[in-house]
Amino acid sequence: MQNVLQWITTNQQIIYIVILMIFVGIEVIGRVPSVLHTPLMSGANAIHGVVIIGAIIVMGKAETDNYLALILGFLAVILGTLNVVGGFVVTDRMLEMFKSKKK
Protein backbone atom coordinates (compact mmCIF):
# COMPACT_ATOMS: atom_id res chain seq x y z
CA MET A 1 0.00 0.00 0.00
CA GLN A 2 2.80 2.32 1.04
CA ASN A 3 4.45 1.45 -2.25
CA VAL A 4 1.41 2.36 -4.27
CA LEU A 5 0.94 5.74 -2.58
CA GLN A 6 4.61 6.49 -2.97
CA TRP A 7 4.41 5.57 -6.63
CA ILE A 8 1.43 7.86 -7.19
CA THR A 9 3.28 10.77 -5.63
CA THR A 10 6.45 10.26 -7.62
CA ASN A 11 4.49 9.85 -10.83
CA GLN A 12 1.88 12.52 -10.30
CA GLN A 13 2.96 14.36 -13.45
CA ILE A 14 2.22 11.31 -15.56
CA ILE A 15 -1.08 10.74 -13.82
CA TYR A 16 -2.11 14.32 -14.50
CA ILE A 17 -1.18 13.93 -18.16
CA VAL A 18 -3.25 10.76 -18.44
CA ILE A 19 -6.33 12.34 -16.92
CA LEU A 20 -6.10 15.51 -19.00
CA MET A 21 -5.42 13.56 -22.19
CA ILE A 22 -8.53 11.44 -21.65
CA PHE A 23 -10.61 14.62 -21.62
CA VAL A 24 -8.77 16.09 -24.59
CA GLY A 25 -9.26 12.88 -26.59
CA ILE A 26 -12.99 12.86 -25.91
CA GLU A 27 -13.43 16.58 -26.46
CA VAL A 28 -11.45 16.76 -29.68
CA ILE A 29 -13.52 14.26 -31.68
CA GLY A 30 -16.86 14.83 -29.96
CA ARG A 31 -18.55 16.36 -32.98
CA VAL A 32 -17.28 14.18 -35.79
CA PRO A 33 -19.84 13.55 -38.56
CA SER A 34 -20.46 9.86 -39.26
CA VAL A 35 -19.01 10.26 -42.74
CA LEU A 36 -15.59 10.75 -41.17
CA HIS A 37 -15.75 7.83 -38.73
CA THR A 38 -13.63 5.56 -40.89
CA PRO A 39 -10.85 8.05 -41.75
CA LEU A 40 -10.79 9.24 -38.15
CA MET A 41 -10.39 5.71 -36.88
CA SER A 42 -7.66 5.15 -39.42
CA GLY A 43 -5.91 8.38 -38.42
CA ALA A 44 -6.10 7.49 -34.73
CA ASN A 45 -4.75 4.08 -35.67
CA ALA A 46 -1.71 5.76 -37.22
CA ILE A 47 -1.19 7.97 -34.17
CA HIS A 48 -0.99 5.07 -31.75
CA GLY A 49 1.84 3.92 -33.96
CA VAL A 50 3.83 6.23 -31.70
CA VAL A 51 4.60 2.93 -29.95
CA ILE A 52 7.40 2.75 -32.54
CA ILE A 53 9.38 5.11 -30.30
CA GLY A 54 9.34 2.46 -27.59
CA ALA A 55 10.52 -0.08 -30.14
CA ILE A 56 13.39 2.18 -31.21
CA ILE A 57 14.45 2.65 -27.59
CA VAL A 58 14.30 -1.10 -26.92
CA MET A 59 16.33 -1.77 -30.05
CA GLY A 60 18.84 0.98 -29.33
CA LYS A 61 19.43 -0.16 -25.75
CA ALA A 62 19.78 -3.86 -26.50
CA GLU A 63 23.25 -5.27 -25.84
CA THR A 64 24.87 -6.29 -29.09
CA ASP A 65 25.21 -9.91 -27.91
CA ASN A 66 21.65 -10.31 -26.62
CA TYR A 67 20.16 -11.91 -29.70
CA LEU A 68 16.71 -12.46 -28.21
CA ALA A 69 16.38 -8.74 -27.46
CA LEU A 70 17.83 -7.81 -30.84
CA ILE A 71 15.49 -10.03 -32.80
CA LEU A 72 12.37 -9.12 -30.83
CA GLY A 73 13.33 -5.44 -30.93
CA PHE A 74 13.95 -5.59 -34.65
CA LEU A 75 10.54 -7.20 -35.18
CA ALA A 76 8.98 -4.53 -32.99
CA VAL A 77 10.57 -1.76 -35.06
CA ILE A 78 9.29 -3.29 -38.29
CA LEU A 79 5.76 -3.80 -36.95
CA GLY A 80 5.66 -0.34 -35.39
CA THR A 81 6.81 1.28 -38.63
CA LEU A 82 4.16 -0.66 -40.53
CA ASN A 83 1.57 0.74 -38.15
CA VAL A 84 2.76 4.33 -38.52
CA VAL A 85 3.57 4.49 -42.22
CA GLY A 86 0.74 2.25 -43.39
CA GLY A 87 -1.71 4.01 -41.10
CA PHE A 88 -0.93 7.51 -42.33
CA VAL A 89 -0.80 6.48 -46.00
CA VAL A 90 -4.13 4.64 -45.86
CA THR A 91 -5.75 7.59 -44.11
CA ASP A 92 -4.37 9.98 -46.69
CA ARG A 93 -5.73 7.81 -49.47
CA MET A 94 -9.17 7.76 -47.91
CA LEU A 95 -9.18 11.52 -47.47
CA GLU A 96 -7.85 12.14 -50.95
CA MET A 97 -11.19 10.85 -52.19
CA PHE A 98 -13.08 13.24 -49.98
CA LYS A 99 -11.14 16.15 -51.38
CA SER A 100 -11.76 15.33 -55.02
CA LYS A 101 -15.50 15.39 -54.58
CA LYS A 102 -15.49 18.91 -53.18
CA LYS A 103 -14.65 20.35 -56.60
Binding site: N3, V18, I22, V24, G25, I26, V28, I29, V32, S34, V35, L36, H37, T38, P39, L40, M41, S42, G43, A44, N45, A46, I47, H48, G49, V50, V51, I53, G54, A55, I57, V58, M59, G60, A62, L68, A69, L72, G73, A76, V77, I78, L79, T81, L82, N83, V84, V85, G86, F88, V89, V90, T91, R93, M94, E96, M97, F98, K101, K102
Partner: protein, 476 residues
Protein backbone atom coordinates in the same frame (compact mmCIF):
# COMPACT_ATOMS: atom_id res chain seq x y z
CA UNK B 1 21.46 20.09 -24.92
CA UNK B 2 20.48 17.23 -27.22
CA UNK B 3 18.18 15.75 -24.65
CA UNK B 4 16.45 19.11 -24.20
CA UNK B 5 15.86 19.36 -27.93
CA UNK B 6 14.36 15.89 -27.74
CA UNK B 7 11.90 17.20 -25.15
CA UNK B 8 10.89 19.88 -27.63
CA UNK B 9 10.51 17.26 -30.36
CA UNK B 10 8.18 15.34 -28.08
CA UNK B 11 6.14 18.42 -27.26
CA UNK B 12 5.78 19.13 -30.97
CA UNK B 13 4.73 15.51 -31.47
CA UNK B 14 2.07 15.65 -28.75
CA UNK B 15 0.63 18.92 -30.01
CA UNK B 16 0.45 17.73 -33.62
CA UNK B 17 -1.36 14.58 -32.50
CA UNK B 18 -4.03 16.60 -30.73
CA UNK B 19 -4.31 19.08 -33.60
CA UNK B 20 -4.32 16.27 -36.13
CA UNK B 21 -7.18 14.44 -34.42
CA UNK B 22 -9.09 17.69 -34.10
CA UNK B 23 -8.69 18.45 -37.81
CA UNK B 24 -9.50 14.87 -38.76
CA UNK B 25 -12.97 15.30 -37.33
CA UNK B 26 -13.84 18.03 -39.84
CA UNK B 27 -14.23 17.22 -43.55
CA UNK B 28 -12.57 20.43 -44.73
CA UNK B 29 -9.36 20.03 -42.74
CA UNK B 30 -9.17 16.26 -42.39
CA UNK B 31 -6.43 15.63 -44.91
CA UNK B 32 -4.19 18.37 -43.58
CA UNK B 33 -4.79 17.07 -40.06
CA UNK B 34 -3.52 13.66 -41.06
CA UNK B 35 -0.39 15.15 -42.64
CA UNK B 36 0.29 17.34 -39.60
CA UNK B 37 0.08 14.34 -37.27
CA UNK B 38 2.38 12.42 -39.63
CA UNK B 39 4.90 15.27 -39.61
CA UNK B 40 4.83 15.38 -35.81
CA UNK B 41 5.38 11.65 -35.70
CA UNK B 42 8.40 12.01 -38.00
CA UNK B 43 9.91 14.70 -35.76
CA UNK B 44 9.42 12.51 -32.69
CA UNK B 45 10.94 9.44 -34.38
CA UNK B 46 13.99 11.23 -35.76
CA UNK B 47 14.49 13.00 -32.44
CA UNK B 48 14.38 9.69 -30.60
CA UNK B 49 16.89 8.03 -32.90
CA UNK B 50 19.53 10.72 -32.68
CA UNK B 51 18.95 12.51 -29.38
CA UNK B 52 17.71 9.87 -26.96
CA UNK B 53 19.93 9.15 -23.97
CA UNK B 54 19.51 6.35 -21.49
CA UNK B 55 18.42 8.11 -18.28
CA UNK B 56 20.56 5.80 -16.10
CA UNK B 57 23.79 5.60 -18.04
CA UNK B 58 23.55 8.69 -20.23
CA UNK B 59 24.39 6.57 -23.26
CA UNK B 60 23.09 7.29 -26.73
CA UNK B 61 21.25 4.56 -28.55
CA UNK B 62 23.24 2.05 -30.58
CA UNK B 63 22.39 -0.75 -33.06
CA UNK B 64 21.67 1.88 -35.70
CA UNK B 65 21.91 -0.67 -38.51
CA UNK B 66 19.12 -2.69 -36.95
CA UNK B 67 17.00 0.39 -36.28
CA UNK B 68 17.30 1.82 -39.78
CA UNK B 69 16.92 -1.65 -41.30
CA UNK B 70 13.66 -2.13 -39.44
CA UNK B 71 12.40 1.34 -40.27
CA UNK B 72 13.22 0.85 -43.94
CA UNK B 73 11.57 -2.57 -44.21
CA UNK B 74 8.50 -1.35 -42.33
CA UNK B 75 8.18 1.81 -44.42
CA UNK B 76 8.50 0.04 -47.75
CA UNK B 77 6.03 -2.71 -46.90
CA UNK B 78 3.66 -0.29 -45.19
CA UNK B 79 3.62 2.17 -48.10
CA UNK B 80 3.22 -0.54 -50.71
CA UNK B 81 0.45 -2.28 -48.81
CA UNK B 82 -1.40 0.96 -48.15
CA UNK B 83 -1.03 2.15 -51.76
CA UNK B 84 -1.95 -1.13 -53.41
CA UNK B 85 -4.97 -2.01 -51.29
CA UNK B 86 -8.33 -1.66 -52.98
CA UNK B 87 -10.75 0.91 -51.65
CA UNK B 88 -13.12 -1.86 -50.57
CA UNK B 89 -10.40 -3.61 -48.59
CA UNK B 90 -9.37 -0.55 -46.57
CA UNK B 91 -11.21 -1.55 -43.39
CA UNK B 92 -9.27 -4.77 -43.14
CA UNK B 93 -6.05 -2.90 -43.86
CA UNK B 94 -6.71 -0.61 -40.90
CA UNK B 95 -7.32 -3.68 -38.78
CA UNK B 96 -4.06 -5.23 -39.95
CA UNK B 97 -2.03 -2.10 -39.16
CA UNK B 98 -3.72 -1.87 -35.79
CA UNK B 99 -2.68 -5.43 -35.06
CA UNK B 100 0.92 -4.57 -35.95
CA UNK B 101 0.88 -1.77 -33.37
CA UNK B 102 -0.51 -4.12 -30.73
CA UNK B 103 2.16 -6.72 -31.51
CA UNK B 104 4.82 -4.02 -31.32
CA UNK B 105 3.66 -3.05 -27.81
CA UNK B 106 3.61 -6.71 -26.74
CA UNK B 107 7.15 -7.27 -28.07
CA UNK B 108 8.43 -4.23 -26.18
CA UNK B 109 6.99 -5.72 -22.98
CA UNK B 110 8.68 -9.06 -23.68
CA UNK B 111 12.09 -7.50 -24.22
CA UNK B 112 11.81 -5.22 -21.20
CA UNK B 113 10.77 -8.09 -18.97
CA UNK B 114 13.61 -10.15 -20.29
CA UNK B 115 15.92 -7.30 -19.31
CA UNK B 116 14.44 -7.17 -15.81
CA UNK B 117 14.71 -10.91 -15.22
CA UNK B 118 18.35 -10.62 -16.22
CA UNK B 119 18.88 -8.09 -13.44
CA UNK B 120 16.80 -10.15 -11.01
CA UNK B 121 19.05 -13.15 -11.50
CA UNK B 122 21.91 -11.05 -10.15
CA UNK B 123 20.11 -8.99 -7.53
CA UNK B 124 17.22 -10.68 -5.77
CA UNK B 125 17.02 -8.41 -2.70
CA UNK B 126 13.54 -7.40 -1.58
CA UNK B 127 14.32 -3.71 -2.05
CA UNK B 128 15.15 -4.28 -5.67
CA UNK B 129 12.02 -6.39 -6.15
CA UNK B 130 9.94 -3.65 -4.56
CA UNK B 131 11.48 -0.99 -6.74
CA UNK B 132 10.69 -2.78 -9.99
CA UNK B 133 7.14 -3.85 -9.16
CA UNK B 134 5.46 -0.83 -10.78
CA UNK B 135 7.54 -1.42 -13.90
CA UNK B 136 6.52 -5.08 -14.01
CA UNK B 137 2.89 -4.04 -13.63
CA UNK B 138 3.15 -1.74 -16.64
CA UNK B 139 4.98 -4.42 -18.63
CA UNK B 140 2.29 -6.99 -17.87
CA UNK B 141 -0.48 -4.54 -18.77
CA UNK B 142 1.22 -3.62 -22.03
CA UNK B 143 1.67 -7.29 -22.84
CA UNK B 144 -1.94 -8.24 -22.14
CA UNK B 145 -3.51 -5.28 -23.95
CA UNK B 146 -1.07 -5.42 -26.84
CA UNK B 147 -1.53 -9.11 -27.49
CA UNK B 148 -5.32 -9.01 -27.15
CA UNK B 149 -5.31 -6.17 -29.66
CA UNK B 150 -2.98 -8.07 -31.99
CA UNK B 151 -4.87 -11.36 -31.92
CA UNK B 152 -8.25 -9.65 -32.12
CA UNK B 153 -7.20 -7.47 -35.05
CA UNK B 154 -5.89 -10.46 -36.95
CA UNK B 155 -9.22 -12.25 -36.54
CA UNK B 156 -11.12 -9.08 -37.51
CA UNK B 157 -8.89 -8.81 -40.57
CA UNK B 158 -9.56 -12.43 -41.47
CA UNK B 159 -13.28 -11.97 -41.01
CA UNK B 160 -13.47 -8.90 -43.19
CA UNK B 161 -11.70 -10.56 -46.08
CA UNK B 162 -13.73 -13.72 -45.62
CA UNK B 163 -10.91 -16.01 -44.50
CA UNK B 164 -12.31 -16.51 -41.01
CA UNK B 165 -15.89 -17.57 -40.45
CA UNK B 166 -18.05 -16.66 -37.48
CA UNK B 167 -17.59 -19.23 -34.79
CA UNK B 168 -19.28 -19.49 -31.43
CA UNK B 169 -20.25 -22.14 -28.95
CA UNK B 170 -22.35 -22.13 -25.82
CA UNK B 171 -20.54 -20.80 -22.82
CA UNK B 172 -18.03 -18.98 -24.96
CA UNK B 173 -18.57 -15.74 -23.09
CA UNK B 174 -17.95 -17.48 -19.79
CA UNK B 175 -14.83 -19.18 -21.12
CA UNK B 176 -13.61 -15.78 -22.35
CA UNK B 177 -14.14 -14.22 -18.95
CA UNK B 178 -12.29 -17.10 -17.29
CA UNK B 179 -9.38 -16.75 -19.73
CA UNK B 180 -9.15 -13.04 -19.04
CA UNK B 181 -9.42 -13.56 -15.29
CA UNK B 182 -6.66 -16.19 -15.34
CA UNK B 183 -4.43 -13.92 -17.43
CA UNK B 184 -5.00 -11.01 -15.06
CA UNK B 185 -4.53 -13.23 -12.01
CA UNK B 186 -1.26 -14.56 -13.39
CA UNK B 187 -0.28 -10.94 -14.09
CA UNK B 188 -0.91 -9.92 -10.48
CA UNK B 189 1.05 -12.92 -9.23
CA UNK B 190 3.92 -12.02 -11.52
CA UNK B 191 3.96 -8.45 -10.23
CA UNK B 192 4.21 -9.72 -6.66
CA UNK B 193 6.77 -12.43 -7.50
CA UNK B 194 8.62 -11.12 -10.56
CA UNK B 195 11.14 -13.94 -10.45
CA UNK B 196 8.66 -16.38 -12.04
CA UNK B 197 9.51 -15.19 -15.51
CA UNK B 198 7.94 -18.22 -17.25
CA UNK B 199 4.55 -16.85 -16.19
CA UNK B 200 4.98 -14.04 -18.68
CA UNK B 201 4.78 -16.50 -21.58
CA UNK B 202 1.69 -18.04 -20.03
CA UNK B 203 0.11 -14.59 -19.88
CA UNK B 204 1.10 -13.99 -23.49
CA UNK B 205 -0.56 -17.24 -24.61
CA UNK B 206 -3.72 -16.59 -22.59
CA UNK B 207 -4.04 -13.04 -23.91
CA UNK B 208 -3.62 -14.17 -27.50
CA UNK B 209 -6.26 -16.84 -26.97
CA UNK B 210 -8.57 -14.32 -25.37
CA UNK B 211 -8.12 -11.93 -28.31
CA UNK B 212 -9.06 -14.67 -30.77
CA UNK B 213 -12.07 -15.93 -28.85
CA UNK B 214 -13.25 -12.42 -28.06
CA UNK B 215 -13.63 -11.47 -31.73
CA UNK B 216 -14.59 -14.90 -33.11
CA UNK B 217 -18.34 -14.84 -32.33
CA UNK B 218 -18.92 -11.23 -33.40
CA UNK B 219 -20.57 -10.91 -36.80
CA UNK B 220 -18.81 -9.36 -39.79
CA UNK B 221 -21.17 -6.38 -39.81
CA UNK B 222 -19.97 -5.40 -36.36
CA UNK B 223 -16.28 -5.59 -37.23
CA UNK B 224 -15.90 -1.79 -37.59
CA UNK B 225 -16.96 -1.36 -33.99
CA UNK B 226 -14.58 -4.09 -32.89
CA UNK B 227 -11.70 -2.63 -34.87
CA UNK B 228 -12.37 0.77 -33.38
CA UNK B 229 -12.36 -0.75 -29.90
CA UNK B 230 -9.14 -2.68 -30.52
CA UNK B 231 -7.72 0.54 -31.91
CA UNK B 232 -8.26 2.23 -28.58
CA UNK B 233 -6.75 -0.83 -26.84
CA UNK B 234 -3.58 -0.43 -28.86
CA UNK B 235 -3.59 3.23 -27.86
CA UNK B 236 -3.57 2.21 -24.20
CA UNK B 237 -0.84 -0.35 -24.89
CA UNK B 238 1.27 2.40 -26.46
CA UNK B 239 0.63 4.55 -23.40
CA UNK B 240 2.00 1.71 -21.25
CA UNK B 241 5.22 2.13 -23.21
CA UNK B 242 5.07 5.80 -22.30
CA UNK B 243 4.92 4.90 -18.60
CA UNK B 244 7.75 2.45 -19.00
CA UNK B 245 10.18 4.95 -20.52
CA UNK B 246 8.70 8.05 -18.91
CA UNK B 247 8.16 9.14 -22.50
CA UNK B 248 5.57 11.87 -22.77
CA UNK B 249 4.88 11.65 -26.48
CA UNK B 250 4.04 7.95 -26.26
CA UNK B 251 1.94 8.63 -23.23
CA UNK B 252 -0.04 11.51 -24.72
CA UNK B 253 -0.42 9.85 -28.13
CA UNK B 254 -1.48 6.55 -26.61
CA UNK B 255 -3.97 7.95 -24.11
CA UNK B 256 -5.34 10.36 -26.71
CA UNK B 257 -6.11 7.49 -29.08
CA UNK B 258 -7.35 5.35 -26.20
CA UNK B 259 -9.89 8.00 -25.20
CA UNK B 260 -10.85 9.17 -28.69
CA UNK B 261 -11.05 5.57 -29.90
CA UNK B 262 -13.38 4.61 -27.08
CA UNK B 263 -15.65 7.56 -27.81
CA UNK B 264 -15.56 6.78 -31.53
CA UNK B 265 -16.54 3.18 -30.77
CA UNK B 266 -19.51 4.43 -28.79
CA UNK B 267 -20.48 6.88 -31.56
CA UNK B 268 -20.37 4.05 -34.11
CA UNK B 269 -22.62 1.94 -31.92
CA UNK B 270 -24.99 4.87 -31.59
CA UNK B 271 -25.17 5.22 -35.38
CA UNK B 272 -26.50 1.66 -35.35
CA UNK B 273 -28.63 2.40 -32.31
CA UNK B 274 -27.05 -0.37 -30.29
CA UNK B 275 -25.04 -0.47 -27.12
CA UNK B 276 -21.43 -1.52 -27.04
CA UNK B 277 -22.20 -4.40 -24.66
CA UNK B 278 -24.84 -5.57 -27.10
CA UNK B 279 -22.25 -5.67 -29.90
CA UNK B 280 -19.58 -7.36 -27.80
CA UNK B 281 -21.68 -10.02 -26.16
CA UNK B 282 -22.89 -10.75 -29.65
CA UNK B 283 -26.63 -10.34 -29.61
CA UNK B 284 -26.65 -10.90 -33.37
CA UNK B 285 -24.89 -14.22 -32.98
CA UNK B 286 -26.68 -15.12 -29.78
CA UNK B 287 -30.16 -14.35 -31.02
CA UNK B 288 -29.73 -15.90 -34.42
CA UNK B 289 -31.77 -18.94 -33.44
CA UNK B 290 -34.84 -16.96 -32.51
CA UNK B 291 -34.31 -14.67 -35.48
CA UNK B 292 -34.23 -17.49 -37.96
CA UNK B 293 -37.30 -18.93 -36.27
CA UNK B 294 -39.28 -15.81 -37.08
CA UNK B 295 -37.60 -15.67 -40.48
CA UNK B 296 -38.72 -19.20 -41.19
CA UNK B 297 -42.37 -18.24 -41.31
CA UNK B 298 -43.95 -18.04 -44.70
CA UNK B 299 -43.60 -14.52 -45.95
CA UNK B 300 -45.38 -15.01 -49.23
CA UNK B 301 -43.77 -14.51 -52.57
CA UNK B 302 -41.40 -12.00 -53.97
CA UNK B 303 -41.60 -10.88 -57.56
CA UNK B 304 -38.74 -10.51 -59.96
CA UNK B 305 -38.36 -7.77 -62.51
CA UNK B 306 -36.62 -8.15 -65.85
CA UNK B 307 -33.73 -5.90 -66.82
CA UNK B 308 -35.69 -4.24 -69.60
CA UNK B 309 -38.65 -3.53 -67.32
CA UNK B 310 -36.33 -2.07 -64.71
CA UNK B 311 -34.69 0.08 -67.37
CA UNK B 312 -38.09 1.26 -68.53
CA UNK B 313 -39.31 2.16 -65.05
CA UNK B 314 -36.15 4.10 -64.28
CA UNK B 315 -35.96 5.92 -67.61
CA UNK B 316 -39.45 7.33 -67.21
CA UNK B 317 -39.08 8.27 -63.57
CA UNK B 318 -38.67 11.84 -62.39
CA UNK B 319 -36.51 11.03 -59.46
CA UNK B 320 -34.44 7.95 -58.68
CA UNK B 321 -32.73 7.35 -55.34
CA UNK B 322 -29.92 4.83 -55.20
CA UNK B 323 -29.31 3.04 -51.90
CA UNK B 324 -25.83 1.53 -51.98
CA UNK B 325 -24.80 -1.22 -49.58
CA UNK B 326 -22.09 -3.77 -49.05
CA UNK B 327 -23.07 -5.60 -52.25
CA UNK B 328 -21.96 -2.56 -54.23
CA UNK B 329 -18.60 -2.56 -52.49
CA UNK B 330 -17.98 -6.28 -53.03
CA UNK B 331 -18.88 -6.07 -56.69
CA UNK B 332 -16.71 -2.93 -57.12
CA UNK B 333 -19.72 -1.46 -58.88
CA UNK B 334 -19.21 2.18 -57.87
CA UNK B 335 -18.06 3.23 -61.35
CA UNK B 336 -20.94 1.45 -63.08
CA UNK B 337 -23.21 3.13 -60.58
CA UNK B 338 -21.87 6.55 -61.51
CA UNK B 339 -22.33 5.70 -65.20
CA UNK B 340 -25.95 4.83 -64.53
CA UNK B 341 -26.40 8.16 -62.78
CA UNK B 342 -24.98 10.01 -65.80
CA UNK B 343 -27.09 8.15 -68.35
CA UNK B 344 -30.24 8.74 -66.33
CA UNK B 345 -29.33 12.42 -65.95
CA UNK B 346 -29.08 12.72 -69.73
CA UNK B 347 -32.63 11.42 -69.90
CA UNK B 348 -33.72 14.13 -67.51
CA UNK B 349 -34.04 11.89 -64.48
CA UNK B 350 -32.91 13.31 -61.17
CA UNK B 351 -30.59 10.87 -59.40
CA UNK B 352 -29.51 10.99 -55.77
CA UNK B 353 -27.86 8.60 -53.36
CA UNK B 354 -29.25 7.73 -49.95
CA UNK B 355 -26.42 6.90 -47.61
CA UNK B 356 -27.16 5.07 -44.40
CA UNK B 357 -24.50 5.86 -41.78
CA UNK B 358 -23.53 2.22 -41.38
CA UNK B 359 -24.08 1.00 -44.94
CA UNK B 360 -21.20 -1.17 -46.11
CA UNK B 361 -18.67 -2.47 -43.69
CA UNK B 362 -17.66 0.76 -42.02
CA UNK B 363 -19.35 4.05 -41.31
CA UNK B 364 -18.49 6.34 -44.20
CA UNK B 365 -17.58 3.36 -46.39
CA UNK B 366 -20.10 4.27 -49.09
CA UNK B 367 -19.04 7.91 -49.19
CA UNK B 368 -15.44 6.92 -49.78
CA UNK B 369 -16.41 4.38 -52.41
CA UNK B 370 -18.70 6.71 -54.37
CA UNK B 371 -16.20 9.54 -54.10
CA UNK B 372 -13.69 7.23 -55.77
CA UNK B 373 -16.05 7.02 -58.75
CA UNK B 374 -16.33 10.85 -58.85
CA UNK B 375 -19.92 10.98 -57.66
CA UNK B 376 -20.44 14.57 -56.61
CA UNK B 377 -20.73 15.35 -52.93
CA UNK B 378 -24.07 17.15 -53.26
CA UNK B 379 -25.78 14.02 -54.57
CA UNK B 380 -25.08 12.05 -51.41
CA UNK B 381 -27.97 12.40 -49.00
CA UNK B 382 -27.59 11.47 -45.36
CA UNK B 383 -30.26 9.37 -43.76
CA UNK B 384 -32.55 12.15 -42.45
CA UNK B 385 -32.48 14.10 -45.73
CA UNK B 386 -32.99 10.94 -47.73
CA UNK B 387 -36.00 9.92 -45.67
CA UNK B 388 -37.60 13.28 -46.54
CA UNK B 389 -36.85 12.76 -50.21
CA UNK B 390 -38.30 9.27 -50.54
CA UNK B 391 -41.85 10.64 -50.50
CA UNK B 392 -41.27 12.36 -53.83
CA UNK B 393 -39.18 9.54 -55.30
CA UNK B 394 -40.45 7.36 -58.12
CA UNK B 395 -37.91 4.58 -58.02
CA UNK B 396 -35.58 3.46 -55.26
CA UNK B 397 -32.77 1.25 -56.52
CA UNK B 398 -31.22 -0.76 -53.69
CA UNK B 399 -27.79 -2.08 -54.57
CA UNK B 400 -26.72 -4.83 -52.20
CA UNK B 401 -28.05 -3.17 -49.07
CA UNK B 402 -30.26 -5.18 -46.76
CA UNK B 403 -30.37 -4.59 -43.03
CA UNK B 404 -30.30 -0.79 -43.41
CA UNK B 405 -33.63 -0.89 -45.25
CA UNK B 406 -35.27 -3.63 -43.21
CA UNK B 407 -38.65 -2.40 -41.90
CA UNK B 408 -38.35 -4.87 -39.01
CA UNK B 409 -36.07 -2.32 -37.36
CA UNK B 410 -39.12 -0.08 -37.09
CA UNK B 411 -42.02 -2.38 -36.42
CA UNK B 412 -40.83 -5.74 -35.09
CA UNK B 413 -39.79 -5.40 -31.46
CA UNK B 414 -38.54 -9.00 -31.45
CA UNK B 415 -36.05 -8.33 -34.24
CA UNK B 416 -32.38 -8.11 -33.26
CA UNK B 417 -32.06 -4.90 -35.23
CA UNK B 418 -35.17 -3.36 -33.70
CA UNK B 419 -34.59 0.32 -32.98
CA UNK B 420 -31.89 0.88 -35.58
CA UNK B 421 -32.74 3.91 -37.70
CA UNK B 422 -33.33 2.81 -41.29
CA UNK B 423 -33.80 4.31 -44.72
CA UNK B 424 -37.56 4.40 -45.18
CA UNK B 425 -37.57 3.35 -48.81
CA UNK B 426 -41.19 2.24 -48.62
CA UNK B 427 -42.27 5.87 -48.89
CA UNK B 428 -41.25 5.78 -52.54
CA UNK B 429 -43.51 4.58 -55.35
CA UNK B 430 -41.38 1.69 -56.60
CA UNK B 431 -38.56 -0.26 -55.08
CA UNK B 432 -36.10 -2.30 -57.10
CA UNK B 433 -33.78 -4.46 -55.05
CA UNK B 434 -30.57 -5.79 -56.52
CA UNK B 435 -29.14 -8.70 -54.56
CA UNK B 436 -27.19 -11.77 -55.43
CA UNK B 437 -29.74 -14.10 -53.85
CA UNK B 438 -32.50 -14.16 -51.28
CA UNK B 439 -29.95 -14.88 -48.57
CA UNK B 440 -30.33 -12.63 -45.50
CA UNK B 441 -27.79 -9.89 -44.75
CA UNK B 442 -25.30 -9.73 -41.93
CA UNK B 443 -27.82 -9.56 -39.16
CA UNK B 444 -28.95 -12.97 -40.38
CA UNK B 445 -32.60 -12.03 -40.53
CA UNK B 446 -35.20 -12.04 -43.26
CA UNK B 447 -36.21 -8.75 -44.77
CA UNK B 448 -39.94 -8.21 -45.14
CA UNK B 449 -39.31 -5.44 -47.59
CA UNK B 450 -38.53 -7.93 -50.34
CA UNK B 451 -42.01 -9.41 -50.07
CA UNK B 452 -43.93 -6.14 -50.18
CA UNK B 453 -46.11 -5.40 -53.23
CA UNK B 454 -44.10 -2.30 -54.18
CA UNK B 455 -40.86 -4.24 -54.25
CA UNK B 456 -39.39 -6.15 -57.16
CA UNK B 457 -36.18 -8.12 -57.16
CA UNK B 458 -33.37 -7.91 -59.69
CA UNK B 459 -30.95 -10.74 -58.93
CA UNK B 460 -27.29 -10.76 -59.85
CA UNK B 461 -23.89 -9.29 -59.12
CA UNK B 462 -24.28 -5.53 -58.69
CA UNK B 463 -21.66 -4.60 -61.27
CA UNK B 464 -22.96 -6.91 -63.95
CA UNK B 465 -26.58 -5.95 -63.35
CA UNK B 466 -25.70 -2.26 -63.52
CA UNK B 467 -23.78 -2.69 -66.75
CA UNK B 468 -26.63 -4.62 -68.34
CA UNK B 469 -29.08 -2.09 -67.03
CA UNK B 470 -27.02 0.69 -68.59
CA UNK B 471 -27.22 -0.99 -71.98
CA UNK B 472 -30.97 -1.40 -71.65
CA UNK B 473 -31.51 2.20 -70.58
CA UNK B 474 -29.49 3.48 -73.52
CA UNK B 475 -31.81 1.46 -75.80
CA UNK B 476 -35.03 2.81 -74.27
Amino acid sequence: MGFNILTICYIIGSVTFILGLKMLSNPASARRGNLIAAAGMLVAIIGTIFLYRNTETGEHLHNYTWIFGGLLIGSVIGTLAARKVKMTAMPEMVSLFNGMGGACAALISLVEFNHISGELAVNNSSEYVNSIQPTVLIIVLGLIIGSVSFAGSMIAWGKLNGKVKDFSFTGQNILNLILLAVALGAGVYLVIHPANSFLLYGILALSLMYGVLFVMPIGGADMPVVISLLNSFTGVAAACGGFLYDNKVMLTGGILVGAAGTLLTILMCKAMNRSLINVLVGSFGGNSNSASATGGKDQGHYKEISLSDAAMVMSYANKVMIVPGYGLAVAQAQHACHELEKVLNEKGVEVKYAIHPVAGRMPGHMNVLLAEADVSYEKLQEMEQANDEFKTTDVVLILGANDVVNPAAKNDAASPIYGMPILEVELAKNIIVNKRSMKPGYAGIENDLFFRPKTSMLFGDAKKVLQDLLGEIKNV
